[in-house]
Amino acid sequence: MSAYRWFGRGWLTGGYLFLYIPILMLVLFSFNSSRQDMIWTGFTLHWYAALLDDQEIMQGFVLSMKIATMAATTSVLLGTLAAFVLDNYRQFKGRSLFQGMVSAPLVMPEVIIGLSLLLMFVLMEKLFGFPQRGLMTLWLGHALLGMAYATVVVESRLREMSKSLTEAAMDLGCKPYQVFSLVTLPNITQALASAWLLTFTLSLDDVVVSAFLSGPGYSTMPIIIFSRARLGLDPRVNAIAAITIAVVSAGVVAWSLHIARTERLRQKQISAAFQAELLS
């Protein structure tokens, strides 16, 4: 192997070590018996047990899961609509404004999104007595953030999709809503699932927007982790990390295997169809 190849391999290895060592450390030290220090003193599962007894974290976890589910679902619904509008309607009044508003949350710092949404909610509460800071405001904020990402994911899939499919359906007499539900939707299910998972993860991980929008009694898990991490090291946080990492890696691996399999199956079907066509 040439020096060039060695250098390339070395650079890649270094990069991956940089990306993965912190994650490995998190998992490793979740099994460490020492409370404060990052010095290995022995193996224990104590912190996992302590996690179950930690009322604050358990409540935060339940709340975060609830919000993430609600927000991801809302984001995907709205994001799909927005992506459909952007892909399907090339010209309408205020299209560029629409596009700008959709992607604004992608570029604005979260501190700004959180602050401006909070100001609006406070004003709304003053004028209409609604909504109270808590579940509702967290849900709306996360849904707005997630919608931007969902739109990007769904729109790129829609753009890949051949227009001739929908045109054929229309030629055959489908009504617009039938075209959408019978042709477009089945073609983008994978993108919808990816978008849902992505927005779910984003919501589950969000600190800043949540900190602005949560009210008393509504501390999400990231808010709790953040306030503990500020104070110092807490092995229970490592235990949470290890669990998250295990779940996520299993999920991502399963998901990519599933995608690879369906792709193979599709290719097989396509070539089989071509062959049948050639034989006839």
Partner: protein, 304 residues
């Protein structure tokens, strides 16, 4: 105008198309546009006890008065601390972008030159950390860089240093955290660009007698310009307003605008000032985006 209103008011406006456009449009108006105008308005009012939103429009003797105060902006621009904070936010974002480019470009380059079979796996491995909590990954660095942390123990054990290094809560730990978090955002567009590059250009350069090093600088790098710009934007923009990383890994020297904004709002309770800071940050971010968009549309014109 009259015709427009007639159109809106007739049943035509209830057609499927308007309905489909209308729902996300309305949602975005309420949750993306209105908050911006509230912030803009608030930034031009004064802090008032009891009435946090101040009064911008008021009616006196039947005349509607528009009160616009630029005092918040003047205060920010004259105050050394604010100006320094803006500058240091830009500085740290720029350093992060440069470091990400330095590490990420060769990384993406070598990744794109690997065999197609393993490239997908390599890409997935870059994306995988993104799916695990960002907050927890930042937290991990606290344990690594602490005075009695993993890195110091390692260096002490190897005999490289005699006294533990002070790394936490310094610009160094902040930079590590930022580069670590945003590196995948640099690698991704670069990899997409480099893996699509027409290999014939490189072969042609080699045939014409250029050394690999010359080929790299005179062919590969110029061809990947759009990837570099996209990556730099994806890193620089979120870095300017970053809050969590400086809060966990930064120290007293690492002033960032996100922190000032947070403090102004939560600690000082000065909402108008926080709003003015917000508007200035938005301007700060819109400038690079504007340049980027201009560059992109020029590219499109050039290609056509």
């Amino acid at each position: 105008m009259e015709k427009y209103f007639k159109n809106v008011l007739t049943l035509r406006s209830l057609s499927g198309r308007n309905f489909v456009i209308g729902i996300p449009y309305l949602w975005l108006m309420v949750f993306a546009l209105v908050p911006f105008f509230i912030v803009l308005k608030l930034s031009m009012s004064e802090m008032e006890v009891g009435n946090a939103f101040g009064t911008l429009l008021s009616a006196e003797d039947g005349v509607v008065l528009l009160k616009i105060k630029v005092s918040n902006y003047l205060f920010i621009l004259e105050d050394k601390l604010y100006v320094l904070t803006y500058l240091s936010s830009i500085k740290y974002a720029a350093i992060t972008t440069a470091c990400c480019l330095f590490i990420g470009y060769p990384f993406a380059y070598f990744m794109a030159r690997e065999k197609a079979a393993i490239r997908t796996t390599l890409m997935m491995l870059v994306m995988l950390p993104f799916w695990t909590s960002f907050l927890l990954r930042i937290y991990a660095w606290k344990g690594i860089l602490a005075t009695n942390g993993v890195l110091n123990q390692l260096l002490l054990g190897a005999g490289i240093i005699d006294v533990p290094l002070h790394m936490m809560h310094t610009p160094f730990s902040l930079m590590i955290g930022m580069v670590y978090t945003y590196l995948p955002f640099m690698i991704l567009p670069l990899y997409t660009n480099l893996s699509k590059m027409d290999i014939r250009f490189i072969e042609a350069a080699a045939d014409l007698g250029s050394t690999p090093w010359q080929t790299f600088w005179r062919i590969t790098v110029p061809l990947s310009k759009s990837g570099i710009i996209a990556g730099a934007m994806l890193v620089f923009i979120p870095c300017v307003g970053e809050y969590v990383i400086p809060e966990l890994l930064g120290g007293p020297e690492t002033l960032m605008i996100g922190h000032v904004l947070w403090d102004e709002f939560f600690t000082n309770n000065d909402w108008p000032m926080a709003s003015a800071v917000t508007i200035l940050v938005i301007l700060l971010i819109l400038i690079p985006i504007g340049i980027f968009n201009k560059y992109q549309s020029e590219q499109r014109v050039g290609q056509a």
